[in-house]
Amino acid sequence: MSEQSGKTDRPKLKLVPVVPPPVSDEAGAIAQAEMPFAIVEGEPITQLPRDLYIPPHALEVFLEAFEGPLDLLLYLIRRQNIDILDIPIAEISRQYVKYIELMREMQFELAGEYLVMAATLAEIKSRMLLPRPLEEEEDEEDPRAALVRRLQEYERYKQAAEDLDSLERLERDVVVAEAEVLERTVVTKLPDVALKALLTAFVEVLERSSMFEHHRIRQEPLSVRERMSQVLVNLAGRRYVDFSELLDPAEGRVGITVTFLALLELLKDAVIDVVQTDEFGPIHVRAAQPAATGESPADG
């Protein structure tokens, strides 16, 4: 095409308003006057739409300027100074569809929404062409009404977005005054946890698992569990601990029983080894040794 230059940068699309050329009948067969449709990169464009009257890259710019089919429709309406409540639906539809067809001809990846809108417009047109019985007329909404509502709704938020953008805002319009502070110590407060939150979490995790069932059968008191941890801590880093050292008589019978149960649990889990070298000799407890060494009595 002659109007396409080899330039790679984006064309400045300067468009001039033109008087509509006289039209014969069908959309495609418009008698094209000498009037230019547009001036792209200084070149007047006088070709018919069929003949790619907007260079592809310019058309892309055109499409990018719109936020979607509603935006494009609004533009078409506004450009002709038509009241939004007063859309000549056929006219607008035709223009809209022409753009869409053009873009498809250019093989643009056209968002599906544009095609849906084209179909909607076509549907409205056909419904308006159909004669309707008189009595129905009151119930049935003018097919344009829904479209007008959508357009109005979109337009008010389009306006709201512009209003929002014109508000004075940080970074762009507002600068916060700040004074330097030396020696500021940042302290991080740790989150608080209520016991209730902990229990709630526990109940929920239990509900997801089958632990409740297990525990109906076998349920160690928590004191045993706690003591299991304590025994392990006592054993940590020590080779052997005398069994009697783990039992504190000051705790009384209950305490000793708890420790004993804890030791049994740990032994069963193969977490500790209990070693007695001589019959009736001292019993030693130690953390279980890695199985590889093969010296764990728990092996047998």
Partner: protein, 210 residues
């Protein structure tokens, strides 16, 4: 602690915080040090500072999360050379999405898409969330439990607002009444089919419509 001291601490706090401070948080500052004060005295001190700043290059502004000291916009212009970075510009798609969340919250993504007539990109939602302007405020109890979005206090702070109702008012919707509309006649409308083609090519940028 006398009034002047209170005013000094509050001024220093507002200038040091780097964020707006509420009356309550200012009160907490002085209470922590065992000073007895109340909200009224804090408010008085702020009012006194506001008065002091008149005729100066700075001012106290109340936004959603409290008070902040800012440069008067008449002076901001002088300071432009201090910053190399330009403020971020936001696309129309982002601003329209933000406007819909602000005015129609709580709103789902699908509802935003319905009004805008196009898909809302994940990117936009992420940008708005990362800026701390919108957040998920709940879920609609419809299939899929879509998230409902709302704006945050930071959004109001950023745009210098105290409350949502300080947003510019939305345009009124006018009723469409085909019976009384000036172009009520369907035939007229259909007649437009044969109307001369309106040039496709005038001003294509929708942005510079007055």
């Amino acid at each position: 602690m006398d009034e002047l001291q209170l005013r000094n601490v509050i001024e220093a706090a507002l200038l040091a915080a780097g964020r707006p401070l509420s009356v309550d948080s200012l009160l907490e500052l002085v209470m922590r040090k065992g000073v007895s004060a109340d909200r009224d005295s804090v408010r008085k001190a702020i009012a006194a500072l506001t008065g002091e700043y008149e005729g100066r290059g700075i001012e106290i502004r109340e936004v959603a999360s409290g008070f902040r000291v800012q440069v008067k916009t008449s002076v901001t212009d002088w300071l432009q050379p201090l910053w190399e970075e330009r403020a971020p510009r936001y696309t129309r798609a982002l601003l329209e999405t933000l406007a819909l969340v602000a005015y129609k919250q709580p709103i789902t993504r699908a509802e935003i898409e319905e009004v805008r007539g196009v898909a809302v990109s994940t990117n936009i939602v992420r940008t708005l969330t990362e800026r701390g302007w919108i957040r998920v405020v709940g879920h609609r109890e419809t299939p899929g439990r879509p998230a409902m979005l709302g704006t945050t206090r930071e959004f109001l702070d950023y745009f210098g607002l105290r409350k949502l109702d300080e947003l510019p008012p939305l345009a009124q919707l006018r009723d469409y009444d085909p019976a009384t509309g000036p172009q009520a006649d369907l035939i007229d409308a259909l007649g437009a089919f044969g109307a001369p083609d309106v040039p496709l090519t005038t001003d294509i940028s929708p942005a510079d419509e007055a």
